[in-house]
């Protein structure tokens, strides 16, 4: 049944540009997909290994700034710039991970928060490179591949959708692989995992790098889709927002990041006019969720259906 739901969702996503005539709505959904990619990254590290990376948005920023700068300053085309953005994010992720993963629990969260804020401070203050608070504008659209052009809402939507599909595919493959099971084994019981011969440090680092890769990919997509970029996209509050989406969707589930992001973006849309006050509801909701419903929407759904559907 879950497979049927996935196919249905994919069909709706592909048909969406033909279903909604307003390009405004398409833009909102595409932006939600981009956020969802970053939330998948957060899910890899928090959901699979139980570590909360509060610097996640900074890695999103590394990908985004790399893509934006390589195109506007170095004149690279989009595709190699996107690749370089993801690589930059992963390399930095590896460096930060090697150090931060020696800490545990609260220390890890505080450490990564500090790294994230430092990176955001650099984005704000290195004005010659990053344009300071104004950021970077006029990032060109991707060059056409053959007769396929990427200038316009619909092709960009499909490009973002493809990145999201790739992200989900990676997460499913990882989840079902030996390494994915090792992630979960460590989250459940670190000592037991170590006793069975798992190299805990290396496995954690792998998860962290995968997580920062997805953050970088999302950042690159953000720069491409919006055509402009500022340091406010990389702050601690953005990480907090992604965390909110993840908790509501369901930590550690495959569909959770997408469901949480889409549901909250949709609710925010319904609150037009009072949208900036949405956290008056979302804040207490987060508190209530971790207390009474830590599984989130998808986790709850899985538990409900687990009784009569074998996964």
């Amino acid at each position: 049944m879950r497979r049927v739901l996935w196919i249905l969702a994919a069909a709706v996503a592909v048909a969406l540009p033909f279903l909604v005539p307003k390009s405004f709505y398409l833009q909102i959904i595409a932006s939600a997909y981009i956020t969802a990619i970053a939330v998948y990254g957060l899910n890899v590290i928090l959901g699979y290994t139980g570590l909360l990376n509060l610097g996640h948005a900074a890695f999103f920023g590394i990908g985004a700034y790399a893509v934006a700068l390589l195109q506007t300053k170095a004149g690279w085309p989009f595709w190699p710039a996107l690749l370089a953005g993801c690589v930059a994010s992963v390399v930095l992720g590896a460096l930060v991970g090697m150090v931060s993963l020696r800490t545990r629990g609260n220390y890890f969260a505080i450490f990564t928060a500090a790294v994230g804020v430092m990176i955001a401070i650099v984005f704000t203050n290195w004005q010659d490179l990053t344009g300071g608070n104004i950021g970077i504008v006029n990032i060109p659209p991707p060059p056409p591949i053959g007769s396929l052009t990427f200038d316009g809402d619909v092709p960009k939507y499909y490009l973002v959708l493809a990145a999201l599909a790739l992200t989900i595919l990676i997460c499913v493959l990882v989840r079902n692989s030996l390494i994915g099971r090792t992630f979960v084994a460590i989250a459940d019981n670190e000592d037991l995992a170590r006793a069975t011969g798992v190299n805990v440090a290396r496995v954690r680092l792998t998860a962290f790098m995968l997580s920062t890769f997805l953050a970088g990919l999302a950042g690159g997509m953000f720069a491409m889709y919006n055509g402009n970029l500022g340091p406010d996209q990389t702050g601690l509050d953005i990480t907090f927002e992604q965390l909110l989406y993840l908790v509501i969707g369901g930590i550690g589930t495959i569909a959770g990041p997408l469901v949480g992001t889409l549901v909250l973006v949709e609710i925010s849309q319904q609150l037009q006019g009072v949208e900036q006050y949405r956290f008056l509801i979302f804040g207490p909701m987060l508190v209530l969720l971790v207390r009474f419903f830590p599984l989130g929407i998808v986790g709850g759904f899985n538990r409900l259906t687990a009784r009569w559907v074998r996964p």
């Binding site: 020696r102 629990g105 969260a109 450490f111 790294v115 907090f240 908790v247």
Partner: protein, 286 residues
């Protein structure tokens, strides 16, 4: 050399404020192992309470500070009771997530009620004082003295009163404290009240030399975390020493290196410490 002493004085002012904020955070962490990411937003709320006390209710500076302390102590109790106590057996990450929820709520509440603009808090003590060639405002001197008085009062309370001793007992061993008949829940509530009250006092003190806004809690909270990691998570004297060290480092780096990256120092220090000592300086046990 003159510039050096002037920066020393500025560092002392900023350090006093950091100490009051970090102290509250350390107190909560020490007794409940809760990293209260919403602490900076309690500080922000305190600044607004005092601001409206002075500008709208016209009750004067010191009564406004008292009002802010009382109101925030109540908010602290409410938070402990409604948010953190029910999560005391949940995974660490859940506590952080709940704190993030509280932080979002408080920041938006401030934006709705007070507007997003920066506001100027009028200080009744804005005369400039010259002393041995150094320049300071009266407010800056008041900050140094008031912070010292509050810290001494807190130490006296923790070390010389029975109620204070219960806090120390819970910090040392929660189960043991409960066994000898200490009401640990009451201690947790008390700690949250003191912590939020100190944040309100710090906010009232600083508000009159800088601007207040709904987002003023964000930088403060991260610096406070840097400080308590520096001072050993949960250690009260450590938090005070850490606060002054960080403030001096920022003050001198701002003058002699670059003021753009002044705010990054705290995080640089934090990253360095945790790089070489993943459990923090002066950590108790493991």
């Amino acid at each position: 050399m003159h510039l050096f002493f002037q920066e020393l004085l500025n560092g002392l002012v900023v350090g006093s404020l950091y100490a009051l904020v970090a102290l509250g955070l350390a107190l909560i962490y020490g007794t409940m192992q809760v990293p209260n990411f919403a602490h900076g937003h309690l500080y922000m709320l305190g600044a607004y309470v005092a601001f409206f006390g002075v500008t709208v209710a016209h009750i004067g500076y010191w009564p406004a500070m008292l009002l802010a302390i009382v109101v925030l102590a109540l908010v602290g109790i409410l938070l402990e009771r409604l948010v953190f106590r029910p999560l005391s057996n949940a995974p660490e990450v859940n506590t952080i997530i709940a704190a993030v929820g509280v932080l979002f709520f408080l920041q938006t509440l401030a934006q709705v009620w007070f507007g997003g603009d920066y506001r100027v808090f009028p200080s009744p003590y804005d005369r400039v004082v010259h002393f041995a060639g150094l320049v300071a405002t009266q407010q800056q001197l008041i900050i140094i003295v008031a912070a010292a008085v509050l810290m001494i009062a807190l130490f006296w309370f923790l070390k010389r009163t029975l109620t204070g001793a219960t806090i120390e007992a819970v910090a040392q061993n929660r189960a043991g404290a409960a066994l000898v008949g200490i009401d640990t829940n009451r201690v947790s509530m008390m700690v949250f009240a003191i912590s939020a009250g100190l944040a309100a006092a710090a906010a009232t003190l600083i508000a009159s030399i800088s601007l207040i806004s709904p987002s003023m809690g964000f930088t403060v909270i991260l610096k406070a975390f840097a400080i308590i990691v520096l001072g050993g998570m949960g250690s009260v004297p450590g938090a005070i020493i850490g606060a002054y060290i960080l403030a001096f480092a920022e003050s001198f780096a701002g003058t002699y290196i670059s003021s753009n990256y002044q705010d990054a120092i705290a995080f640089g220090v934090l990253v360095l410490i945790l790089t070489f000592k993943p459990t923090g300086l002066f950590a108790k046990g493991t």
